[in-house]
């Protein structure tokens, strides 16, 4: 099973490398990338300074795998990559990187919506929002 977790934030340079790797695939016409970034929401009058991510990593990687397989079946894609942070990610940093490629644009747009929706719903990742006064709250996807 592929490990979709990266320790800490996902760096812009890593995203650039991922894009560059696809320039040899000359049947690709369209890429779509979704990035989740940690927001400094105000909770109980305190600013979120970071999210500390944890996960049932084995189950999460299985879920990522199943979602990827289902997406490949549903949409005509050339490539698909998913990375999620584990550990601390500061406000403004990137915690989710979803990347799909296809011959045509319509495919990638539908695929990324489907993928991101299922990731948020089905992957056992937990987020502890660290506040500026050193308290915390647990994040919940709606």
């Amino acid at each position: 099973m592929k490990n979709c977790f990266k320790n800490g934030p996902i760096k812009p340079e890593f995203i650039a490398e991922s894009i560059a790797h696809h320039q040899v695939k000359k049947n690709i016409g369209a890429h779509q990338i979704f990035l989740g970034q940690v927001r400094s929401d105000i909770i109980n009058d305190q600013e979120v300074v970071a999210i500390d991510y944890s996960a049932h990593e084995e189950m999460a990687n299985r879920a990522f795998h199943e979602i990827r397989e289902a997406t490949f079946k549903e949409f005509d894609l050339t490539c698909m990559h998913v990375y999620h942070s584990i550990g601390e990610v500061k406000a403004g940093e990137i915690c989710l990187f979803v990347f799909v490629s296809s011959k045509h644009r319509k495919m990638v747009q539908k695929a990324i919506e489907y993928l991101v929706e299922r990731i948020k719903e089905e992957v056992p990742v937990f987020g502890k929002e660290l506040l500026e006064d050193n308290t915390h709250v647990w994040k919940e996807n709606k």
Binding site: S54, M59, L96, V116, I119, K120, P124, V125, F126
Partner: protein, 79 residues
Amino acid sequence: MNVQVNYFGKIAESLNMSNEIIPISDNLMPLNLRNFFEDRYPHLKESSYKIAVNQEFTEEIKSNVQISEIALLPPFAGG
């Protein structure tokens, strides 16, 4: 049998532990897991969580099942 139980996120925090071994006797089967854990830790009644046995979501265990892990998973927050 002795079962490895893993707790995550807010649930682990509220229990002040991330895992434990719980003996579950065969004559309890079929066992409603939510009732079982909420009897053991009544404050879980106030919590929202999913239960997975051997990495599959379920609320119940039947007899004669080999259990390598039970996991209590609070609401997901990925992305």
